[in-house]
């Protein structure tokens, strides 16, 4: 809240207090509350505040090592990949648990998922080292072991954009674009970094990839051509996931420092927020961050077994 709003509230309260002859003790208490709230906001020095937490299911079985999140704008649903429990959990926009899906306990360490509009689920399963396609209507399950130039891929992170599936391969550290028929379309290589990419996002006609070794963001066009390398100005301990904000700001989750670093579009450090902990509004071993379609920052926390959603 802006300072002006708080001051106006204080004056209002005093006026109301006098008019209604309310005891001064109550008025003073209210004023103290507003002052403390103001100090708290300034102390945090961040425009982000906690909105809700996605945790566990209706039977209170909590998540265990959740790895990623998929947000379906059409149905306003969050899908959390509860990896160690071999299941996918869905939540409403307000955070209410809806459904748990395990494909009849056949999922093996799911890492990422996409839910496309044709009742098809695409799931990266680490336990099978495969991309699995599940038709929710027919219950058909197809397992695909992907290859690139006869080399088996180790799919890790996955995103969909305009009907194309993008997969991060741990074997090479590159990102590959596949059609829905799993025909390889493009390869996004990390030229300078020998360890490859650790995370990526696809949005607004570009692919943004985070390289941990040189702590840089690589921006590609969707044909696989490198457009720009953005060197992040502040040294992080263990950058693990990135998100691009609605205004182009770059958000990077530092998995060991347990905080989110914010950079502008040119890589200049702006601020950081959050820190290590288990309480609400703190994070522990973040595995993925992303913005949902409503501009809220979602943080998947492996250590705390939950997803916390923050808003401005």
């Amino acid at each position: 809240m802006a300072k002006k709003t708080y001051v106006f509230s204080v004056i209002e309260i005093i006026e109301v207090g006098i008019m209604k002859n309310i005891k001064w003790k109550c008025v003073i208490v209210c004023i103290c509350y507003i002052i403390l709230r103001t100090i708290s906001c300034y102390a945090q020095n961040t425009p982000w505040h906690w909105i809700l937490t996605l945790r566990g299911d209706a039977s209170r079985k909590s998540m265990d090592m959740p790895y990623s999140l998929y947000v379906d704008k059409a149905t306003s649903r969050y899908y959390v990949v509860d990896t160690y429990n071999n299941r996918l959990l869905s939540f409403s926009k307000k955070g209410k648990f809806l459904h748990a899906f395990s494909a009849n306990q056949k999922l093996k360490l799911p890492m990422a998922m996409i839910h496309d509009s044709n009742s098809i689920l695409w799931i990266v399963e680490r336990g099978k080292n495969a991309l699995v396609k599940i038709n929710l209507k027919t219950k058909a399950i197809n397992v695909f072991h992907l290859k690139f130039h006869s080399m088996e891929l180790f799919p890790d992170r996955m995103h969909e954009y305009n009907g194309i599936i993008y997969l991060l391969d741990k074997m090479t550290g590159n990102i590959y674009a596949f059609s829905k028929e799993l025909k390889l379309l493009h390869c996004f290589k990390a030229p300078n970094s020998s360890l490859g990419f650790i995370d990526f996002k696809v949005m607004r006609g570009a692919l943004w990839a985070l390289a941990m070794e040189d702590q840089s963001i690589y921006r590609f066009n969707l044909n696989g051509d490198l457009i720009k390398v953005i060197h992040l100005s502040k040294k992080m301990e263990f950058p693990y996931s990135l998100a691009i904000g609605p205004t182009g700001m770059i958000y990077v989750a530092d998995r060991h420092k347990n905080c989110i670093f914010v950079f502008d579009g040119s890589g200049e450090y702006r601020y950081s927020f959050l820190n290590l902990g288990q309480d609400r509004g703190k994070i522990y071993y973040p595995s993925e961050i992303d913005f949902d379609p409503w501009g809220r920052l979602c943080i998947v926390e492996e250590g705390n077994g939950r997803v916390e959603i923050f808003g401005r």
Binding site: S9, I13, V16, I22, C26, V29, C30, Y33, I34
Partner: protein
């Protein structure tokens, strides 16, 4: 109008660092923390282990067992020394002479009574030796066998001020589930008229048991001395007494009797005696500093003559009954029986 909820704080009796009482692994520098093996609730010691020491008025834990001889006070009534309201187990413990008659034989403090065994006088046999808490004990929930489970939640949830209504273990007088009363914050270390426990009693007109009184707690084991049919007095209050009255109000008989002059008073607003205290049926938080102020404020109870834990005297009496009136003068019985001077 902004609505503000102010969190209220209640201060538990037990305060301080968790590590003062608890140990996570019962291991420190490669050695066990607890001498007798790990304790439940991650405690560093047993009940008596923590409640052993010498009271000096500044301790935050009440010590009910001392290793060295406690000071029972100059007048032999335990009100000016370093014992507390319940007395001290010293005299029944082996280290203090092991006199079975001078205290309750509690597990971990002294062996089973050599004469009585597991049968309390005036009551039915226990299944094991008396314990601090639990089914065979006094403190905590006496329907729960395990001592630690019986006392669970009491130490941290307890609020030591105000009237304890007995509804939970934490809200019971001295964690005696169901027993009401108000607690002296210093456990009656050097009590006086204005600083003492406020015991709850009920003026009975029949021999039937009543709940919630301190005498009822004693009667759970020593029932014959408290209630029954023809056990106490056939026609309370005027009949012949077979046993000393308990849960009986002296207000009923004070006029024109020796009891009128309780503790040297006149019969109205007599000063409360910490040598031979009385219970009250008043459940307000006002301390009963005087007796014969209102009906129900001079109720004879077990603790009028006995201590709960231990004393230097047989039958855990508060004063030396056998040597009475002894060097202390006409205290003790004569606080009430003023004509027996």
């Amino acid at each position: 109008m902004v609505v503000m909820f102010i969190a209220t704080c209640s201060y538990a009796k037990v305060t301080g660092q968790c590590s003062n009482c608890h140990t996570m692994h019962n291991s420190q520098n490669g050695l066990s923390v607890s001498k007798n093996g790990p304790n439940e609730e991650l405690l560093k010691d047993t009940c008596i282990g923590c409640h052993t020491g010498t009271n000096d008025g500044t301790n935050n834990t009440p010590y009910v067992l001392s290793i060295s001889p406690p000071n029972y006070g100059v007048n032999g009534t335990g009100t000016t020394g370093n014992t507390l309201a319940g007395g001290n187990f010293y005299w029944v413990a082996s280290s203090g002479g092991g006199n079975d008659r001078c205290g309750h034989n509690v597990q971990g403090i002294s062996p089973t009574d050599a004469t009585l065994g597991l049968t309390p006088p005036g009551g039915s046999p226990l299944s094991t030796e008396l314990t601090c808490a639990g089914t065979n004990g006094c403190h905590g929930d006496r329907s729960i066998q395990d001592q630690y489970k019986a006392i669970y939640g009491a130490h941290h949830a307890h609020v030591d001020s105000g009237w304890q209504d007995g509804s939970t273990v934490a809200k019971s007088y001295r964690f005696l589930l169901g027993i009401q009363g108000m607690e002296d914050p210093k456990w009656e270390y050097h009590p006086d008229q204005y600083h003492h426990n406020k015991y709850y009693g009920v003026d009975r007109s029949t021999e039937a048991d009543v709940s919630g009184t301190i005498s009822h707690l004693c009667a759970e084991c020593h029932g014959y001395f408290h209630h029954g049919t023809g056990q106490i007095a056939p026609d309370i209050p005027h009949g012949v007494w077979l046993r000393h009255p308990t849960d009986f109000d002296m207000n009923d008989v004070k006029n024109g009797t020796e009891y009128q002059y309780y503790n040297g008073g006149t019969g109205v607003d007599n000063p409360y005696s910490v040598i031979s205290p009385v219970a009250t049926s008043d459940t307000s938080t006002t301390l009963n500093t005087v007796v014969y102020h209102q009906s129900g404020d001079a109720i004879v109870m077990c603790l009028s003559c006995h201590r709960a834990h231990g004393s230097p005297y047989p039958a855990i009496l508060r004063w030396n009954y056998k040597a009475w009136p002894g060097p202390g003068g006409y205290n003790g019985c004569a606080v009430c029986h003023t004509a027996k001077n």
